[in-house]
Symmetry: C2
Subunit: 336 residues, 2 copies
């Protein structure tokens, strides 16, 4: 076993779009697990847009990552030493392990994965946080009914791509907004979305959405915010439900952004907007994972992974993701 | 019986703050009721902020009032002729009768009032649309729990003043935002609010609200919108519920207004914003009115009326209301 742990820390707090120099690769001794803890060799690290928000000093969904600290992030790994009876050497576990090759974590904060059931990477995607966000954020917040139109921003992202497929399973019309022709093709040709719009190449997004959502929007699942959401709000139907999962268009904002006010529209449409964190559904994760696994086995959920090799490439891959350059769930293969 | 009906019509569609010249007093023949209709002599006309929204060409909560049409508005009156078995001469009824001395309406669109039970003006206030908006908009949208802090914008208005009192009945802390020292005094000294802030004379509304809502805001009942709401949103607690009843700060806007985006705050706080129209609760009006009447009889709800005499004074009184110059429910006494 090597004695050195490589880690990526937050070197400087970015203002606006982060750069490679905001991250630093360092070498530290491999930590020792304390009582109730386990030492994990990280296999795959998940890169998700919400991590950009955690790089800011302001409150995001969790405590900001401090300058000098290891970047936060979910990962799946193998237990190589455990001081807790719940975990043993060789177990595969998922948790918030950070951008590093080895991590120590409390056993109770880890989720044990069965590597025989599904590829371990699914624990970071369909059978992990993105899957649970799609499942609870769509079904519990929005209660979509058969025949309703469900619009999804960031639709080719890890969460959005699952939201559209779950909407289809629930016999809704799924319409996606994405940022490239490849993504639009992926949504409609591979994932079965009923329609998709490339906001980057649509001169009039309102007109395009109005045409494709010809019965209006009953449910809007938002991972992006900003002008895309402003446009969607103009097309909501009476009793529309809007689930706010992320606001990726805002995470890089150096100044607080402004936009048109639309609370009057909520009154006229008797509509509801609700923000959520996956963690608020933690008591029901088992239910969600069981259902997602069933759909995965039945081939009702499809997914695509983009896997980058080696921890040192994580910052560059993350920055590419923020620029919209990936189609599919982005992960970094570290120790597999 | 006079043969002439006086009416106030919309003369021009206002841009920005309306003026007296936007209204026109005209004389027309008293209309005849058709089948299923009744002719009503109007006693009191209700003036409410949402009517400003209906003067705009854009969709508000109902079809815009067209130029040349009688201004919309709720009123209570006496049936003087009826072609429907449900109504008889002398009955007191409430409905959307408009700014006029005589109105013809479908009997099924009218609500019969018992003038012995309460003063007939209560049918336009505590036992009418504002009371129902407060009752359902607070209790059904927000589910306030004992000990929670309920913040109300436009708190001295017809709806807001009832929301705060219902919040107190439900053992919440009620905090109001209003626009004059008289209103603040009315809320705290007469209506029993736990606290109130005059936004017009508070240099730092955020600091003032933070102090007075020392445990944060669990429920926000919004009738105003704009910068007041932006400030309230910064202080919401986890799982906050925001009921959007009106947006009086926006009705006069000549251009669509912009403001800071706060959807990220909804995520972090796992909070919900819901707009509503009183009409969506119509199947439960009886329940609401029964409870409001009980509270009124038990002297748990207090109210203040401001009554202006004569239809010709309606426009001026309405404009004063938009400028915040009234404390208490504004009505025009027409034919009493």
């Amino acid at each position: 076993m090597p004695s050195v742990n490589r880690q990526i820390t937050l070197a400087t707090r970015p203002v606006g779009m982060p750069q490679g120099a905001d991250f630093r690769l360092i070498e530290t001794p491999i930590p020792r697990p304390g009582a109730g803890e386990a030492l994990i060799r990280v296999l795959y690290l998940s890169l998700d847009p919400y991590l950009r928000a955690r790089m800011n000093g302001a409150l995001s969904s969790a405590r900001p990552v401090q300058v000098g600290e290891v970047m936060a992030g979910e990962a799946v790994g193998e237990v190589i030493e455990s001081n807790d009876p719940r975990m043993g050497r060789g177990d595969i576990v998922e948790g918030i392990l950070g951008w590093q090759e080895y991590a120590v974590a409390h056993a109770k904060a880890l989720r044990k994965i069965d590597p025989q059931a599904f590829p371990v990477t699914t624990s970071l995607y369909v059978l992990g946080m993105p899957g649970l966000a799609a499942y609870f954020g769509l079904l519990d917040i929005c209660h979509p009914a058969p025949g309703e139109t469900v619009l999804i921003s960031g639709a080719a992202g890890a969460v959005g791509s699952l939201v559209g497929q779950i909407a289809r399973i629930k016999r809704c019309r799924a319409v996606g907004i994405a940022g490239s022709p490849e993504k639009v093709h992926y949504l409609t040709a591979e994932l079965g979305f009923d329609g998709a719009v490339n906001y980057n190449q649509t001169p009039d997004l309102y007109a395009a959405l109005k045409e494709i959502c010809s019965n209006g929007i009953d449910v809007y699942f938002d991972t992006v915010g900003g002008p895309i959401t402003d446009t969607a709000m103009r097309l909501i139907n009476n009793h529309a439900r809007i689930s706010v999962c992320g606001q990726s268009s805002q995470y890089n904002a150096a100044q607080p952004d402004v936009g048109p006010r639309w609370l009057s529209q909520l009154i006229v449409r008797q509509a509801r907007v609700e923000g959520f964190l996956v963690s608020q559904f933690s008591s029901r994760f088992e239910e969600g994972l069981r259902q997602l696994a069933t759909w995965l086995r039945e081939k009702k959920l499809h997914y695509r992974e983009e896997i980058v090799e080696g921890l040192p490439r994580a910052p560059e891959a993350f920055l590419d993701m923020l620029r919209g350059r990936h189609t599919g769930k982005l992960m970094v293969k570290i120790g597999a």
